[in-house]
């Protein structure tokens, strides 16, 4: 009989064992923590979208002033604005480093690590990295606003929050999409404006039904019509502009939307229907099981998640519960290989790096010992290559340069973040618990120095598989 195991709870559904944070003692406790208040978010704060909107406006204004100064004015004014911009950017850089630190600290110090893992999962599912400087800056706030509060609510809440957020609208070119028969298009015939299908396609293909779902190019087109009118202001706020919206009805998956209902309501209607669609349930169940359990997840587990999703109308709390209550969740075989982001975060948790230590390291250290190494491992922080997020399959991560980069990191970064390193003989027990093999126990004892001893534990299959 397969049952709860605190080590699996932390490594498979969290960020690994911590020497300082008590691991959960039962599935019930894990669920109770997930159900109650998101404590760690108020301990390590990251601003949400509304809290950074003033600063975003300031950036837009500065950019506009710079453009005008460059076009019209002789050199001296440009110099001044450039200087202001430089100062502004340096301030944003500092904030970015702080937010990266806060995100790591949440993972290191939370008792509710499953929540952080779910947030990471859904952030990847709704990947919307910034394409421009300002939207790269807003990315963490998008996660804080659209993803974080919704991972325990219904999938339709999460879907609407994510795809209607300015971050996603901009990322998938929605502001460029105009109803061909809208009054805007008619007034500006020379601009030849029309539909941009990008967002509509990704909603169907990636966010809801999945690429194997039952939809056609025509559904993409019709959904794109419904989405017209969604727009983003230059200060980064989402708006619905009626004049850009395609008038009349549109038929998505056989159902008519629009017409009498106003544009925004129709968009909510169609997204709510897509969120509850059986193909969506199957797609999400499969992704969750693959992410948390194995590249080839047990069929009965996928089925159980799919059924729960359908029965609960996409209640993500209940879907998470179904995952944890399934025997496959506690299977001994460690079929997953940690992605770089998880590898690095769980190493910092194992080292119990404190917020003081993170605050004390320079941004150059963060860059050199975190951001650059993650790039070398193939997973640049917050920058998936496309809307489909990072690769899920282990074979993508388990490469020579990936392993080389992990070894390089394991040898250099723990000292940089943690200062004094733990005794490897204690470290191996704290981090791996009963899982530690004779080989890794021996290595921790026989290593020439602490630095190599710690690296050997981090590089062990017991640490990297979950």
């Amino acid at each position: 009989m397969l049952h709860f195991d605190p080590e699996i709870a932390e490594s498979r559904f969290g960020y690994g064992y911590s020497p300082s944070v008590q691991a959960p003692v039962s599935v019930d406790q894990m669920l109770a923590r997930l159900r109650t208040k998101d404590e760690i978010a108020s301990r390590f704060v990251i601003k949400d979208s509304s809290q950074i909107s003033a600063s975003f406006k300031e950036f837009s204004d500065l950019s506009r002033r710079l453009r005008i100064a460059r076009k019209l004015n002789p050199k001296e004014d440009v110099g001044l604005v450039v200087k202001e911009m430089k100062q502004f950017r340096s301030n944003w850089r500092k904030q970015s480093v702080q937010r990266t630190g806060s995100m790591l600290m949440r993972r290191v110090w939370t008792q509710d690590a499953l929540r952080e893992r779910l947030i990471a999962f859904w952030t990847d599912h709704f990947s919307a990295p910034g394409k421009t400087y300002n939207y790269r800056f807003t990315f963490p706030s998008y996660v804080e606003t659209a993803i974080r509060p919704n991972v325990t609510k219904s999938f339709s809440d999460l879907l609407l929050a994510a795809v209607l957020h300015p971050q996603m609208l901009k990322f998938l070119d929605q502001p460029a999409s105009v109803g061909p028969n809208s009054s805007f298009a008619k007034k500006n015939p020379a601009q030849k404006r029309g539909l941009n299908e990008n967002l509509a396609r990704e909603i169907l293909e990636l966010h809801t039904l999945g690429v194997n779902g039952h939809y056609s190019q025509n559904d993409v087109r019709e959904l794109a019509k419904l989405l017209t009118g969604l727009w983003v202001t230059s200060s980064g706020e989402a708006r619905f502009i009626e004049t850009r919206s395609e008038p009349g009805q549109a038929k998505v998956l056989g159902k008519l939307y629009g017409g009498a209902r106003d544009g925004e309501e129709s968009i909510a209607d169609v997204l709510n229907d897509l969120a509850r669609h059986p193909d969506t349930a199957r797609h999400i169940a499969n992704k969750l099981a693959t992410h948390f359990i194995s590249d080839a997840p047990p069929k009965d587990l996928v089925k159980a998640l799919e059924m729960e999703f359908l029965a609960s109308d996409g209640d993500l709390m209940r879907v998470s519960e179904a995952l944890l209550r399934h025997p496959a969740a506690w299977h001994e075989s460690r079929a997953n290989f940690k992605q770089p982001d998880l590898f690095v975060s769980s190493a910092l948790r194992a080292l119990a790096v404190s917020d003081q230590q993170i605050e004390n390291v320079s941004s150059a250290t963060i860059n050199r010992n975190l951001l650059l190494p993650l790039r070398k491992m193939g997973q640049p922080w917050g920058e998936p290559a496309g809307p489909d997020g990072f690769e899920e399959h282990d074979s993508y991560w388990l490469t020579p340069q990936g392993m080389g980069a992990r070894l390089q990191w394991s040898l250099a970064a723990p000292t940089a973040f943690a200062g004094e390193l733990p005794d490897p003989r204690e470290f191996v027990v704290n981090v791996l618990g009963s899982r530690a093999s004779d080989a890794v126990m021996f290595a921790a004892r026989a290593a020439e120095n602490r630095r190599e001893g710690v690296a050997l534990v981090l590089m062990s299959p017991e640490f990297q598989r979950c």
Partner: protein
């Protein structure tokens, strides 16, 4: 640096031994004596950020050039002049001997089919996808990989994608090896031995680790085993400095690593060079990336050695060129038509190729950019055809869908 015979060789032996039991891994293809696809070599360098072709190859003969670029055009300089009133940027002057030896050409006024939006991301994706339009992100593969699919006898080590950036260019179903020579690690002999023991229980991890050890010892950086404590400290410092932003020689190490592989079984290598997005003060900001490009080409030549260099073609291409006119901050903005650089001993070089329409405003694309008069993919296609014998129909249908190859520009000797 001393290598302890004990540790590294044993580690590798372990990797090889372990390897034989996992037949599924692409890295494990047993050493095969099948013919290599060809003796010719191809190196593709992506110049990310939009390289300003007009600054690299300066059309001094065109009176509109100096007018459009008050701080960038510079005086006509006979020592930098290559052909018919075209001069090169002083930062690439070290390449002049190659020009005179027929090992360097430029193609002007070329572009991918990408138009109007001038986004780096889409522009680079299109350059790497080699298609006329961008399809679905999730289904994209790169033209270099599709080229491999059209070749005989391709194995895991035939092509190398170098660097940590995931490259669309080499993505696809054909096997491609990858390594990033900026990955360094320094361990004691004891540490290396213990690492081997720790990984013993996991064949996949052990194998990847063994490959990492093998490749890192070939890439000119620090390799795994250090026995002397003082040297260990020194290497740690070296390691830290190569991790920092000031990793100055990184491009040289990439070129050295590429050359080393191409001297062996590899025939194709690709990597990227950045830093071309010169919006501000281009007179200064263009120097470093151009120097890196020149050094990369010269490092390839030096490290390939005579025989292999004679069979090598280097293609350096970018996602778009830049505006003809300087902007308000003495730089240039995203444009359309640009330049391609060809180098290598296999070249029939010393030529400026491509048809330029001149820089009068009416001749520009949207009155701002160099008007592209040819498809950059056409030159890549002919270089592939001449190097590896792929048929025009495969190139036009599979590698660069929708391309018309037209007449042979006779790139190679």
């Amino acid at each position: 640096m001393t290598h302890s015979g004990l540790s590294r060789r044993k580690f590798l032996a372990r990797g090889a031994l372990v390897g034989c039991s996992v037949a599924a891994s692409p890295l494990l293809t047993p050493v095969s004596f099948a013919m290599a696809p060809s003796d010719n070599r191809l190196v593709v360098i992506l110049l990310r950020g939009g390289m300003d072709g007009l600054d690299l190859l300066r059309p001094w003969h065109d009176p509109a050039f100096a007018i459009a670029r008050p701080t960038l055009a510079q005086q006509r300089n006979p020592t930098l002049e290559v052909q018919d009133g075209y001069g090169i940027h002083p930062a690439v002057a070290p390449l002049l001997p190659l020009w005179h030896a027929g090992e360097l050409s430029f193609v002007q006024s070329v572009s991918t089919p990408y138009r109007n939006k001038r986004s780096h991301f889409d522009g680079q994706d299109l350059l790497e996808a080699g298609t006329a339009n961008l399809g679905k992100t999730s289904q994209r593969d790169g033209w270099l990989n599709r080229m491999l699919q059209g070749m005989q006898g391709v194995e895991a080590h035939t092509a190398y994608a170098i660097g940590a950036d995931p490259m669309l260019l080499s993505r696809g179903s054909a096997p491609v090896s990858s390594w990033s020579p900026d990955v360094d690690f320094v361990m004691s002999a004891q540490g290396a031995r213990l690492l081997q023991e720790v990984m013993q229980s996991d064949t996949e991890m052990a194998l990847a680790m063994a490959q990492a050890v093998r490749l890192s010892s070939q890439d000119g950086g620090e390799s795994i085993v250090e026995t002397d404590a003082s040297m260990l400290e020194a290497s740690m410092d070296a390691q830290m400095s190569t991790q920092g932003q000031g990793a100055r020689g990184a491009h040289k190490r990439v070129a050295e690593f590429a050359a080393e592989q191409l001297r062996g079984d590899a025939r194709i290598a690709c990597f990227s060079l950045g830093g071309w997005d010169t919006h501000n003060n281009q007179k200064n900001t263009m120097v470093a990336p151009l120097k890196r490009l020149a050094q990369t080409i010269l490092t390839l030549k030096a490290n390939l050695g005579g025989a292999a260099w004679q069979r090598t073609t280097v293609l350096a291409m970018t996602e778009f060129g830049r505006t003809v006119r300087e902007n308000g901050s003495r730089g240039t903005d995203h444009g359309t038509g640009g330049a391609m650089v060809l180098a290598g001993g296999a070249l029939r070089g010393g030529r400026v190729l491509g048809h330029a329409l001149g820089l009068d405003e009416a001749a520009l694309y949207q009155r701002r950019d160099v008007m592209p008069t040819d498809d950059v993919r056409r030159y890549a296609a002919w270089a592939i055809r001449s190097s590896f014998g792929l048929s025009a129909s495969v190139l036009e249908r599979d590698v660069f869908p929708g391309l018309e190859m037209k007449d042979d520009p006779g790139l190679l000797a």
